[in-house]
């Protein structure tokens, strides 16, 4: 994770477009100014950032599914549950499954585990929109390359 850049996902571990599933890896940094406030003397990864990790993972799955043609924006979070504390340095596994593709939106079931123990899960709604400008699309392609997004998918868009 590069929290200061809001890059929650380190790499795509597994992407199965046909199965509409993705798995990513996200290691919580050992130090961050975030932990000075959350919480003093007891550093914990904030739950909102765990949601963001699930949203980014869902986003990569959706962008992969549409061949990098359109962007996904988080629109709703439902049934979010945080089952365990996450502390600095832990390596998280993030998974998302695309459960419904509507017109201009998608629904995913996402979860985070640590050593196969359930950390959190939620159902996410993402709006699917055209990239608002070429720069964003270019930057997202760069981010995609950084996390190991399959080049053949990225090249299609």
């Amino acid at each position: 994770m590069r929290l200061e850049y809001f890059q929650l996902i380190d790499r795509i571990v597994d992407l199965k477009i046909a199965d509409r599933k993705i798995s990513t890896e996200a290691t919580v940094p050992g130090t961050s100014t975030i932990f000075e406030g959350h919480f003093p003397g007891f550093p914990l990864m904030p739950g909102v950032l765990l949601i963001e990790a699930m949203a980014q993972t869902s986003g990569w799955l959706i962008v992969a599914s549409n061949g990098f043609a359109r962007m996904a924006f988080l629109a709703a979070v439902k049934d979010a549950k945080f089952r365990m504390f996450v502390t600095p340095g832990q390596k998280l596994s993030v998974k998302a499954a695309l459960t419904h593709e509507g017109s201009g939106y998608a629904i995913t079931d996402a979860s985070i585990t640590l050593d196969d123990k359930s950390i959190c899960d939620a159902t996410l709604t993402l709006r699917i929109l055209d990239f608002p400008n070429d720069e964003m699309k270019l930057r997202m392609r760069e981010a995609a390359a950084r996390v190991g997004f399959p080049a053949e998918v990225s090249a299609n868009g």
């Binding site: 986003g59 990569w60 924006f73 988080l74 419904h100 593709e101 939106y105 709006r127 929109l129 608002p132």
Partner: protein, 143 residues
């Protein structure tokens, strides 16, 4: 990658526009601001037509999803203008309708048609018309 919808206001996207207060809403020119559900204007309708099962299904979906009293949802109700449903709430309704009927409501196409002046919101969002569109989509799926 995924960011909150508040970052969208500068988009030239046809489906969703941002209101002055920063909330996302329909790109349907006459946006119905949120805040207080409006009762169906036509609730005094004296002669009720026989209601289709499609209408019953979507009325129940809307009542449950948006916490709107079921008896205020009429076939003549406009989802946006009368019931005050915004685009995000309508995504929940669309999801439930997609699942219930095994279809994919073409929301983006409808929005485009309205924005292009080729259709009115009444054609898609007055519930008896929405029911008819759903029946057409179901029929097309079975064809």
């Amino acid at each position: 990658m995924a960011v909150t919808i508040e970052l969208v206001p500068t988009l030239r996207y046809t489906g969703i526009q941002s209101l002055a207060d920063g909330s996302a809403d329909w790109g349907l020119l006459r946006a119905s601001k949120r805040g207080g559900r409006l009762l169906a204007k036509n609730s005094k309708s004296t002669r009720e037509l026989p209601m289709s099962s499609t209408f019953e299904t979507i009325a129940n979906i809307i009542a449950e999803t948006c916490d709107i009293p079921r008896d205020s949802i009429k076939p003549e109700s406009h989802a946006i203008n009368d019931l005050g449903i915004d685009s995000l709430d309508f995504l929940d309704i669309a999801f439930a309708i997609d699942k219930a009927f095994g279809i994919k409501l073409p929301l983006e196409q409808w929005t485009q048609e309205v924005n292009d002046g080729k259709a009115t919101t009444d054609q898609y969002f007055v519930l008896k018309n929405l029911s008819a569109r759903i029946d057409e989509l179901v029929a097309a799926k079975g064809a």
